[in-house]
């Protein structure tokens, strides 16, 4: 790290007397900060053969330095452990307070009230759920289902029209009808049996036939029903997994390669727009906001093409899994963020 004086000299490209620096002078300034020139292997070994005494002397200092470094490393990590435990405890308390203060009580009106102050809500919300490693397959599926249902209900109450749920293994995808039933039941428990504002839901997974049960009304195409019924809000839910990420892009490449081999397409025709059109159609559009319920931001195989400009939200040191306060805080953060494209 260059000292302040030298940094100044570098910055202005003039020395203290105000003369312009030449390349050589600049290098001279930097010399003390550089690591030693790497020695060629051969000279090193020959020196070792010539004077073992000298070699011995050289071995002591690095050893001492190493000992000091290890000591400092240990000290840093001991202090850091203490710090991180304190931070975790602090955040646990804060999260607990949030959980108590902001609870939805399964009432859409309360959730709507929470959303009142937001300048904007995302049009497409995405959540990343993780299968809990503990417990059996059945337990973790049960938890996932519960979480998905709750999130769907919150999303509908917040007035967000599109929700996508990412789960790496795709276990949710394979029980579409069951999940649909569960979500309908949760919606009923939030909105009541026959409320006019109860949203209709459609559940879809890429590469699987869309599931629409016979009892539920078709997703409204033209807003109102034929007999002038009240307009139902609609929530489109998409289930995605690992295979909708890289694998889809690979499949697309295969198709494109095949087309190119048969002379139906020239490689020059492949553009971002083409790929974007294909991917948005077969999987989904890019979400505006991705909520992670873990304690760090790791995308865990989330479709790369779609994660381009999405805002990502997580709560530091949050370990409680899916919680309403995380959802709410993510929307608050998003509502205040200014939207910019590029870096």
């Amino acid at each position: 790290m260059v000292g302040a004086r030298h940094a100044q000299a570098f910055h202005a490209d003039v020395d203290e007397q105000g003369r312009r620096l030449s390349a050589r002078e600049r290098e001279r300034l930097l010399k003390p900060y550089l690591p030693p020139t790497p020695k060629p292997e051969t000279s090193h070994s020959s020196a070792a053969h010539k004077s073992p005494l000298f070699q011995h002397k050289k071995r002591v200092r690095p050893a001492i330095r190493h000992a000091i470094h290890s000591l400092i490393f240990t000290i840093i990590h001991v202090f850091f452990s203490v710090y991180i435990r304190l931070r975790e405890a602090y955040h646990a308390v804060v999260n607990q307070i949030f959980t108590v203060l902001y609870y939805h009580h399964r009432t859409p009106e309360l959730i709507k009230k929470d959303m009142k102050n937001l300048s904007k809500v995302p049009k497409h919300l995405s959540v990343i759920l993780q299968q809990s490693p503990a417990g059996g397959d059945k337990d973790s599926l049960e938890t996932l289902m519960n979480d998905a249902c709750e999130i769907a209900a919150w999303t509908a109450s917040a007035g967000i029209p599109v929700l996508s749920i990412y789960e790496r293994t795709g276990i949710l995808k394979h029980s579409l009808p069951h999940l649909h039933r569960r979500i309908s039941r949760t919606m009923t428990s939030y909105y009541g049996e026959a409320a006019a504002s109860k949203p209709t839901i459609s559940l879809r997974a890429p590469h699987l036939p869309s599931y629409s049960p016979p009892t539920s009304p078709e997703p409204p195409t033209n807003g109102d029903d034929a007999d002038g019924h009240v307009h139902h809000p609609h929530l489109a839910i998409m289930l995605i997994d690992e295979s909708d990420g890289r694998q889809t892009l690979v499949d697309l490449t295969k198709t494109l390669a095949e087309m190119a081999q048969h002379g139906k397409l020239s490689p020059e025709d492949i553009s971002s727009e083409l790929i974007d059109a294909e991917i948005s159609e077969s999987v989904m559009m890019e979400p505006d906001l991705i909520i992670l319920f873990g304690d760090q931001i790791v995308l865990d195989g989330y479709p790369p093409w779609q994660a381009r400009l999405s805002e990502m939200f997580y709560v530091q040191d949050h370990v409680g899994g899916v919680g309403y306060h995380v959802f709410l805080r993510a929307l608050y953060k998003y509502g205040q963020a200014q939207f910019r494209v590029g870096t």
Binding site: A23, R26, H77, R246, A260, D276, V298, L299, G301, W305
Partner: protein, 391 residues
């Protein structure tokens, strides 16, 4: 006014020789200590906030970018000294071309001067053993800048201890598109075949085949008498012989490229497509050519994620850490293909020009701590399973 006084006082204090000396040693010591733990192999940086920093300090935008470059130099030093092998930086997004022409030109000029400077100090890069790679859509860069880019890249090509990936007109989507396009190109030309390595010559085999064909024609003539009369007897027989012949040739072809023949390629040479006209030498040579052109193409089914990864700009293992400054929680189209798996993404609130060891250290220590924590847990799990096994 007070802040500028404070800043100048601080600068004066920091430039006192003893303070400078001490700070220098503290930094070296910290970097040395960090090396005792696990160190990420690859770190990516999104250098965001130069403009906002300049605005906050009432400086020109280009000056903000200049300070950003110095911050980069500091960070690189820390990275390479602590043993990070790959550093990838998001220097310029394709989206940035949408900014004012004045700023884009300023950025390009800066890139050029910095590259010229870098070329003057090639030795410094050699000290770290770092090679520079400039990745992205080169067609968008001005010719004079491109020339400097190539010079700097060429000069450091030999170094292999560390790599600096500079993403310069880059977006992650463009990279994926590029990779797909390259893969498609690769799969629409026959692969390079190793020449002059086998003891068999194709012409000789062809000659053998031809003699065999003649023999089979003679045989056919005999067969026609033996088989019961059939409406299309002779014709179908001929086409049958044709098809076996074709598949034989195809086998030869595909074995010569050392590639398993796919269902599609064998479809292409299916007997239904064959003219049923009698065998003639030039007919068989035509067939040979057409079979060659389709079966020499690699099978698209062999495309995997690795193929796409190989064709991306960035030739490095996926980063363990991605750090973005300026408090924006977005990837902004950076390293989408590399960072969506296991990379830990860190969003920091400081602006890039302020970023230095003191911001970097906590991130790195936390990463180390997590890594050690994970290791310990894995060890515990292994220990418990061992215990179960022994019990």
């Amino acid at each position: 006014m007070a802040t500028t006084d404070g800043a100048s006082l601080r600068r004066w204090f920091l430039s006192l020789p003893p303070v400078e000396y001490l700070l220098q040693h503290v930094r070296e010591l910290l970097i040395g200590s960090l090396k005792c733990g696990p160190i990420p192999n690859h770190i990516a940086f999104v250098m965001d906030g130069n403009r906002r920093w300049a605005r906050d300090h009432k400086l020109e935008t280009v000056e903000g970018h200049n300070m950003g470059f110095e911050a980069l130099a500091r960070v690189l030093e820390v990275c390479y000294k602590s043993g990070v092998k790959y550093v990838t930086i998001y220097a310029f997004s394709i989206e940035n071309f949408k900014r004012s022409k004045y700023e884009v030109d300023g950025l390009m000029d800066m890139a050029k001067t910095r590259l010229v400077q870098m070329s003057q100090h090639g030795e410094l890069f050699d000290r770290y053993g770092a090679s520079v790679r400039v990745l992205g859509d080169r067609s968008l860069v001005r010719a004079d800048v491109l020339e400097q880019v190539d010079r700097a890249v060429d000069m450091t090509r030999e170094n292999d201890r560390a790599v600096l990936n500079v993403c310069f007109p880059y977006t992650g989507r463009e990279e994926i598109t590029h990779s797909i396009r390259e893969t498609v190109k690769e799969y629409s030309v026959p692969p390079e075949r190793p020449k002059e390595k086998r003891a068999f010559s194709e012409s000789q085999i062809q000659r053998h085949l031809r003699t065999r064909q003649l023999a089979s024609v003679a045989e056919e003539g005999e067969q026609q008498y033996l088989t019961p009369p059939n409406t299309t007897g002779g014709l179908s027989n001929a086409s049958d012989a044709d098809s076996t012949e074709a598949s034989e040739q195809e086998d030869l072809d595909s074995s010569s490229v050392l590639q398993p023949a796919s269902s599609q390629t064998s479809n292409c040479a299916s007997p239904t497509l064959k003219p049923t006209t009698p065998l003639s030498p030039d007919n068989s040579s035509w067939r040979l050519k057409s079979a060659a052109s389709s079966s020499h193409l690699p099978d698209p089914e062999t495309i995997t994620t690795d193929t796409l990864t190989k064709n991306t700009y960035i030739d490095a293992p996926p980063p363990e850490l991605l750090i973005r400054t300026s408090g924006v929680n977005r990837l902004s189209d950076f390293m989408l293909w590399q960072c969506h798996e296991t990379t830990e993404i860190k969003f920091l609130d400081c602006m890039w020009p302020e970023f230095d060891l003191w911001h970097f250290l906590p991130v790195l220590v936390e990463w180390q701590w997590r890594q050690r924590h994970k290791q310990r847990q894995e060890g515990r799990v292994e220990g418990s399973t061992d215990g179960i096994k022994s019990a």
